[in-house]
Amino acid sequence: MTVLDVSHVTKIYNVRGAGQIRALDDVSFTLRSGQTIGLVGQSGSGKSTIAKILTQLETPTTGEVLLDGKPVPRRGRGLREYRQRLRMVFQDPFASLNPYHSIGYHIERPLRLDGVVPAAEIDAEVRRLLERVRLTPDAVIDRRPHELSGGQRQRVAIARALASRPSLLVADEPVSMLDVSIRLGVLNLLADLQREEGLGVLYITHDLATARHFSDEIIVLNQGLIVERGSADDVILRPQDPYTKELRAASPDPEKHFASASGILGGAQ
């Protein structure tokens, strides 16, 4: 089932002194439930503009976005429902959790606001969600964000995103602030949840290695244009577009580095 349908979206910013900037140029793609699409590109490629349009922080200049077949409402009750169906996981788990509130409060709030479960069941639902993200409820529920590690915090952010039972998760660099050694754990968790709950995931990143492992399909953006799309392995292992090739050559790749005598840095040794 198609969860997200982005069709011919163009976003133009009027920048004083610089005229018009085409942040997105006729971008179209669809995302099915249970599917992960990796959106890759460097800074300024337009990937975050897509996230902003999906979360209603920006509106497209032309084009349309459909979620579960319905257009994005501009205001009112419809908008609220839209936001229950589409949830974000942000890059920085230090900034996205409120330092004054307990972990339990963070999960409880969307449950209350969106009325997902009856009031009497909220406590049980908070514990269930924390368990879903492999946290021990008793160990974290009364703690504040600063008492948790970065990886734990990001799990809390994921639990919060899942609370309103969305059909689409937009994850904007969800692991780039985390240690390399715990990134896999968080990505594995997202992959499990996605499979079990049939979630659609839009994974926005500039890290080709995780995009390849975590996505079914990869879309490469350059200056607002989709320059390449295809299965994850096709795009990363057999890139066709010059820009994709450039991105791939710039990504650290120890296998290739130690296989060639001179190394990618051209004689760094």
Binding site: Q42, S43, V180, L184, H206, F214, P254, A268
Partner: protein, 274 residues
């Protein structure tokens, strides 16, 4: 040149909180002249504490509880870093060892031009220079890091992230130090810009002959840029070897765990259980 630039012996740092935390315990290492030494490990393993500790940049509650740090100056003099008084330390820092910090956005003063900030380095450390000489030094530095001398009147917010990080490198290079400590210098940048900066560090290192201590948790990146890599865990160096040996013949169990924990760009898939 394979002689030592920095000799660290039995170095320990404790965070004097309740209960005390052993951040760095009995670390010994020899940094060679002109090499890039990578320091890798998870958050909290002590890599930053070690790199800051050898230049006595730690503040309370961190306490250096033991060990010695000897800097073998190019002049032939051996400097016992722990024995320097405050004024000697002030002269030593930046002149012999400089730093490139992670967040160039936060490390630069937003209300001063980058030229003025670079000139500050010379005003403090080379008081004999005339204003004109300072300006020409700054112009030269900006050319070396390929920002361009004409940008000296720009404010930090007028430069891209990559350019700002180049300005930080120019600042670290200003006094031609023998050692640069780089703390996650490219973590905030995207891969294309990151690659350019790494190339530049590598070239400058060959041109000026300084050593680098490169701190990051990004092991794939470290494997490419480093000559040798020290893997740290719980305040100790568990393995120190050439980058190639770390990659092809890791000896320590923990090194193997770290190596297997990042997804490969081109290698076997299946790291993420999908």
């Amino acid at each position: 040149m394979t002689d030592s630039l920095l000799t660290v012996r039995d170095f320990s740092v404790v965070y004097d909180v309740d209960p005390p935390v052993d951040a760095v315990t009995h670390v010994s290492l020899d940094l060679r002249r002109g090499e890039i030494l990578g320091l890798a490990g998870e958050s909290g393993c002590g890599k930053t504490t070690l790199a800051y500790g050898v230049q006595r940049l730690l503040k309370a509650p961190a306490v250096i509880t033991g060990g010695s740090v000897t800097f073998h100056d190019a002049s032939g003099e051996d400097i016992d870093v722990n024995a320097l008084d405050a004024e000697q330390m002030r002269r030593f820092r930046w002149d012999k060892i400089s730093m490139v910090f992670q967040g160039a956005m936060n490390a630069l003063n937003p209300v001063a031009t980058i030229g003025a900030q670079l000139e500050d380095v010379f005003e403090i450390h080379r008081p004999g220079l005339s204003r004109r000489q300072r300006r020409s030094e700054v112009a030269e530095l900006l050319e070396i890091v390929k920002v361009g001398a004409q940008r000296s009147r720009s404010f930090p917010h007028e430069l891209s992230g990559g350019m700002r990080q180049r300005v930080m490198i120019a600042m670290a290079l200003a006094l031609r130090p023998q050692l640069m400590v780089m703390d996650e210098p490219t973590t905030a940048l995207d891969v294309l810009v990151q690659r350019e900066i790494l190339k530049q560090i590598s070239q400058l290192r060959h041109e000026f002959g300084f050593s680098v201590i490169f701190i990051t948790h990004d092991l794939p990146l470290l494997l490419e840029i480093s000559d040798r890599i020290a893997i740290m865990r719980d305040g100790e160096i568990v393995e120190l070897d050439t980058a190639e040996n770390i990659w092809t013949r890791p000896q320590d169990e923990y090194t193997r765990t770290l190596l297997s924990s990042f997804p490969r760009l081109t290698g076997e898939k299946g790291m993420v259980a999908r």
